[in-house]
């Protein structure tokens, strides 16, 4: 069977690619398009390291088939900073050491950004439940939760 042709938008840029019908978005991002910021921790939607947004909705890119993003808009960790200007979450994660090995960090950041876009004033519990789909084995989550809460407070202050 010949490959499928997909036209989509990634981080605001028009993108075309060829894929097999059963390839995941994550596989295409990493192995076809060279966007390796999204990580494969499990391939079964349990770890969240491959988190992206699809038309603004937070999804695990390992669970979305690549042909499904035809005509849709996705954003990945590579689209989070604007040029050399980090997103406030990225900056806060650095300042508050909210990462150790960093493998879960892209997924956590994409998920946290999606949270703050929906809820600019989350409680600690809101953050913990929203991020419950992003496994981190290094940090014990403490500094991640604090960084998200502080970023939210800063962004509310700036708004």
């Amino acid at each position: 069977m010949s490959k499928l042709h997909v036209t989509t938008s990634i981080n605001g840029e028009p993108v075309e690619f060829l894929c097999e019908a059963d390839q995941s978005v994550l596989d295409v991002l990493r192995n076809t398009l060279g966007l390796t910021g999204s990580k494969e921790g499990c391939g079964t939607g349990d770890c969240g390291a491959c988190s992206i947004t699809l038309d603004g909705r937070l999804v695990c890119s390992c669970l979305v088939l690549a042909p499904e993003i035809e005509g849709r808009q996705i954003t990945t960790i590579e689209g989070m900073a604007q040029g050399d200007h980090l997103h406030p979450l990225q900056q806060k994660f650095l300042e508050m050491a909210a990462l150790q090995c960093g493998i879960c960090t892209p997924g956590v950041l994409v998920a946290a950004k999606a949270l703050l876009e929906r809820n600019p004033d989350p409680s600690e519990t809101d953050v913990r439940y929203w991020l419950a789909g992003n496994l981190c084995r290094c940090t014990g989550y403490d500094k991640i939760v604090r960084a998200v809460l502080e970023t939210a407070a800063d962004m509310r202050g700036a708004a």
Binding site: G41, G43, C101, P106, L135, C138, G140
Partner: protein, 750 residues
Amino acid sequence: MNAIDNKWIGRRTIRPDGADKVTGRAGYAADNSMPGMIWGKVLRSPHPHAMIRGINTARAEALPGVKAVVTAKDIVDFPLDKSVMLGIQDMRWMCRNVMAREKALFHGHPVAAVAATTEEIAAEACKLIEVEYEVLPHVIEIEDAIMADAPILHDFLRHEGKPSNIAATMVNKLGDVDAGFAEADIIIERSFKTRPVHQGYIEPHACTVSCTADGKATIWSSSQGQFMVRAMTSLLTGIPQSNIRAIPAEIGGGFGAKTIIYLEPLAVLLSKKSGRPVKMVMSREEVFRGTGPTSGSMSTVKIGAKKDGTIVAAQGTFYLQAGGLPGSPLRGPVGCSFAPYDIPNVLSVGYDVVSNRSKVAAYRAPGAPLGAYATECVMDELAEALKIDPLELRLKNTARPGTKAAYGVVFGSITFEDTVKAIRNHPHYSAPLDRAPAKGVVRGRGVASGFWFNAAGESSAQVNITEDGNVTVTTGHPDVGGSRASIANVTAELLGIEHKRISVLIGDTASIGFSNLTGGSRVTFASAMVVTQSTEKVIGQLKERAARIWKIDPEAVVWSDGAARPAGANAGQFPPLTLKDLAAKANEMGGPIGAGIQLTTVGADPGFATHVVGVEVDVELGIVRVLRYTAAQDVGRALHPDYVEGQIQGGVVQGIGWALAEEYLFDKQGRLDNASFLDYRMPVCSDVPMIEPVVLEIPNPKHPQGVRGAGEAPIVPPLAAISNAVHDALGKRFYSLPMSPPKVLAALDG
């Protein structure tokens, strides 16, 4: 916390590798690709225990797109009768772990590997390999493996003269334990079980390897030691170390399990055979089935004390799962369990038990949590029986400088009692406890302590001054949790310059001197030591250059605040020469400026921790929730406090998972039943509270900055601390982990 007036050490600076990691640009093992690259896949045994009578790879090799197939016969054999050690690893077992040789020893044991133009073709080819197995009876659990009629995994293993699954015994002895128990007014003896748990790093094992026609191999992989990758791959493939360049990718978590290799030698052999670069990436299922975990255990601990709480004797018996090949971390429970206490009579014995599971790998303070679980739970019962506060019981028996530990050392400047006092004095310990806040909910509080040896060992560093007067520092240690940030702080402090002017890099095996593993809580200790000595050499060079420019004696020059200055009025009047000034003049005044050190570091005094935890038990659902957690530890000096706190917080949460939810479950066919993150339940963000670290900084006198290893001690106390808290809540003691909802409900019903 510390009175030392430092400008950079102890500052929460931004890590040198941070921007790459928050933007997705950091290169982890699976992120690499090469021109012409093909994909490797592993065929794994469908049986937990089987003789391999033959392997026919002809059909796989004939599949279009297949470029190479390897089996055990391509790997260097290490005969069973002669041990060849690389560090603590016996190559006899490593060669049989990366590829089954005579026998498949666990479900998921590699039996062949294929490289093909796509992952799909490689997977298809694996199915075409015909393996003739003679299936043997299998054994999974310790209690079954040590029975007289158990299936024997290795007929060359003998225990007490008979074929056995007990591969090794370790004994630590101090005094006369029988005489000690005879003096005791009270003796408590209990038996405990723990299940194997996986290290759970989010990055699966991966590598890319390129072998060229001249016999050279370049390996790009993530590990806890590129020099280990080079040495082990060399031993298993026969390629000399000088022809292997191991490049450390960013590592997405290891926790001990990446101190050995799985894929690299297979990828090297596939690349060599095919003449193409080969990439291999494990699936999460392969990680669960084929790598790690740490040992499950069966332990008995007996402690005898006087009425006043003075412990007179302690005895521990620890059976640890090794997996299919020998090598469980016996030293952990045998050596660590009683080390916090000054006990005159100790007998601590460990047994290494093989069974048809994946070979265990190191996990954060390997084995120590298993022993501390048993000992610290018995300590809690002893305190309860004697009506002594559990922390006071620990203080009464605390090991001090000069105490002889059963594992053989006389302690130097140890600080165990400081950690106990830190918890005793913490508001958490004395906060009012609402024992029954709602119907069906009860709360309790528990404490426990722990010990870890801490390691030192070989490390190398190179500090170079760039032509424009900035600094690059290279070490040989993969950075698992922010060690580059600590090194930047140390170098900035010594040179008296802004930390942002310092670039900290991790060298590959061709660009930096030998450095032992990132493990044993040694990296910050050892790398700060070699970086300090290298930087001091550089400062010596800088002072010499200034002296030459000023035409004065180098002894008359001092280095302070980033510049050479005359030592005093007698030295003469000269304006300071900064790093930039001296770098600009380097070539005319003696050449490039830089220095390196290669050293076997010593002086890593052990680490102690004491924890208090508050839990809530839902008696309807059997769920135990951790509500509050406070962890005290002496780290000597926190070069970068965030990453020290992070080690404590991360270690504690791994301990919470171990205590409450994580376990390897096997079906009757000897197959792991929960090989996914859905069914293997690691703590998620909503499972845990904030973890409060109490970081004590009592400088280690044997280290230039006072550093004591910090990474491993935090996982030692949680298992017992949580058990003791659950007992406090329910009035019932659990003697096996995890305290998962089904077990809690069964205990409440029973």
